[in-house]
């Protein structure tokens, strides 16, 4: 499959792993209006590629992502008004969760992750970071409200740490080490240069599992954030049962019993 030639992103495939790389290193990968549009398409292309079983998202240069491009906002005469409708309707399209991508997504945080950059931390299934990664949320320091990305994080990790970042703004940074202790991320890669290699290794392990079972598991777990516990379990049971009769569901135990690699169905 050939991917669109993007200006602000790189999209590549290495084995079963699709890579989405933020590529505005001189702007610390800040999201311009064009990049925002490119994200929407890039996620769709990676999702549609049957050779991609797992997606890794990272950035070029010394930052992972630093949110909306503030210089563009300040200088283009339109500012945040450009995004009013999409926010009022909560009609966003720049993360895998927004785009309803049910393949596993790993965010690999290289360097700085600030403000709107947290969207891709909050909305990933798995997050790893280079040992020199730093996290902070400067929204309130420049007179903006933080809501969506912090709300996602609040549901996935200890709340105090998220509130502290929201209110301290640009005056403090969270280290990769502390993010690991808090369970915001599950792996710190040192030296930092090894980040992509570590992400590829992790993604290849995940790619050994049944794509169909992972998609249903992902729907069950993210769906659970929408509901009370009992209702979430009921909805989860629906995902669970939907797999019964799928070829992978019999192939898995069989391969295990025969001590061989499973041959999963490609959707």
């Amino acid at each position: 499959m050939t991917y669109t030639a993007f200006e602000c992103l790189k999209v590549e495939r290495h084995g079963p792993v699709g890579w989405l790389i933020n590529d505005r290193p001189h702007q610390l990968n800040a999201m311009s209006a064009q990049m925002r549009d490119e994200f929407a398409l890039a996620w769709q292309e990676l999702d549609a590629d049957p050779d991609v079983r797992v997606i890794v998202h990272t950035g070029e240069g010394r930052a992972f992502q630093t949110g909306v491009d503030v210089s563009e906002i300040a200088g283009d005469g339109v500012g945040m008004e450009r995004y009013r409708e999409s926010l009022e309707n909560f009609d966003l399209h720049f993360t895998a969760w927004h785009q309803q991508v049910w393949k596993p997504v790993i965010t690999a945080v290289n360097g700085i992750c600030a403000g709107g950059g947290f969207h891709w931390v909050a909305d990933a299934d798995i997050v790893i970071a280079a040992s020199d990664a730093q996290f902070f949320d400067p929204h309130v320091s420049i007179g903006q409200v933080v809501a969506i990305e912090a709300i996602g994080l609040l549901r996935k990790m200890p709340a105090e740490a998220v509130m502290r970042m929201a209110f301290v703004g640009r005056h403090e940074r969270l280290s990769a080490e502390r993010a690991y202790e808090l369970g915001m991320i599950s792996q710190v890669v040192d030296p930092p240069e090894r980040l992509r290699e570590a992400a590829q290794e992790l993604a290849e392990k995940i790619a050994l599992n049944s794509p169909a079972a992972m998609a249903a598991t992902k729907r069950a777990l993210w769906g659970a954030l929408e509901l009370g516990l009992t209702d979430a379990c009921r909805a989860g049971a629906g995902e669970l049962v939907s797999m019964w009769g799928h070829p992978d569901q019999t192939e898995g135990p069989l391969a295990f019993a025969e001590k061989r690699d499973a041959r999963w169905q490609v959707e």
């Binding site: 596993p104 990933a124 299934d125 798995i126 997050v127 549901r155 996935k156 990790m157 200890p158 202790e181 808090l182 369970g183 915001m184 991320i185 599950s186 992790l202 392990k205 995940i206 050994l208 599992n209 049944s210 169909a212 079972a213 992972m214 249903a216 598991t217 992902k218 069950a220 777990l221 659970a224 954030l225 009370g228 516990l229 009992t230 209702d231 979430a232 379990c233 009921r234 989860g236 049971a237 995902e239 669970l240 049962v241 939907s242 797999m243 019964w244 799928h246 992978d248 569901q249 019999t250 192939e251 898995g252 135990p253 391969a255 295990f256 499973a262 999963w264």
Partner: protein
């Protein structure tokens, strides 16, 4: 205690105020066969109904804690498999204390590997401790199965990223007891591992010093809160709180405190059922 009930796949016993529910199929890594599925429901009911039991400890015999459904055995018992499938489908599982609506405090003491469906008993316990050699993994997706119930509840009680990672890496990665402790999935790691049951009994003995009725209401309030938004949960919690007013324990507690003596709590009958 009522007439003793005998079990094939579980050990159910009482030590002081503590009821023990021990998975006892060590040769099958304590996987749940059809008999165990039946016996679990009976054992929770028995421990819940016994007023002498104030706290329940759940652990496993041998090297494993619990490794989920014994698919091999169940495939030879189509009737039992059908029944379990039906319960899974209708969200009517009866494996854990939460499924069986037991409102006494439950401690899971994880004594080794806890895999797949074994995570139900970690997710649904009030308190989890583990031996230092315990490990946690969820191999469902590695054998073409979906992970739902266990990981849904765990994701609500611990940092979610760790749980989605466990669910998606399948059998290719394990969480150690030390990492589970950092993440707050367990609150105590016991080293050496042989000290686990003693540590569990000590913890349970401490908990048994508290008012059984107040603990049941507290447990209903906290688990009930996982069902709703914050304000609604606080409203429902207020009802549990006020329901205790006028109960003898509610005046005995402050009195014993001022008189510097141990309180005499009212015994608590069966707690099972929907929260009032």
């Amino acid at each position: 205690m009522a007439a003793p009930v005998s079990y094939e796949t579980l050990i159910v016993e009482r030590r002081g105020a503590v009821g023990w529910l021990v998975f006892d199929r060590p040769d099958a890594a304590n996987a749940m066969d059809a008999t165990m599925l039946d016996e679990l429901e009976r054992a929770w009911a028995e421990l819940d109904a016994d007023p002498e039991v104030r706290v329940i400890v759940n652990t496993g015999a041998g090297r494993a804690f619990q490794t989920g459904l014994d698919v091999v055995q169940l495939s030879r018992d189509p009737e039992a498999l059908r029944e379990q499938s039906r319960r899974t489908k209708r969200a009517e599982l009866r494996l854990t204390g939460w499924h069986n609506q037991v409102w006494k405090p439950i401690i899971a003491a994880v004594n080794g590997v806890c895999a797949g469906g074994g995570l139900h008993f970690v997710a649904d316990a009030d308190i989890v401790i583990a031996s230092s050699d315990a490990t946690f993994l969820d191999p469902h997706v590695s054998i073409g199965q979906v992970s739902a119930y266990e990981t849904i509840a765990l994701a609500r009680k611990s940092p979610m990223e760790a749980i989605t990672r466990m669910a998606l890496t399948g059998r290719h990665e394990r969480i150690t007891a030390a990492r589970a402790h950092q993440l707050g999935i367990v609150s105590e790691v016991v080293d050496p591992p042989e000290g686990l049951r003693e540590a569990a009994q000590e913890l349970a003995d401490k908990i048994a010093l508290n008012s059984p009725t107040a603990m049941a209401a507290t447990k209903r309030a906290l688990w009930g809160a996982l069902e709703m938004g914050l304000t609604d949960a606080c409203r429902a919690g207020s009802a549990e709180l006020v329901a205790m007013w006028g109960h003898p324990d509610q005046t005995e507690g402050p009195l014993a405190f001022t008189e510097r003596r141990a309180p005499r709590w009212q015994p608590l009958g069966p707690t099972r059922g929907e929260p009032s």
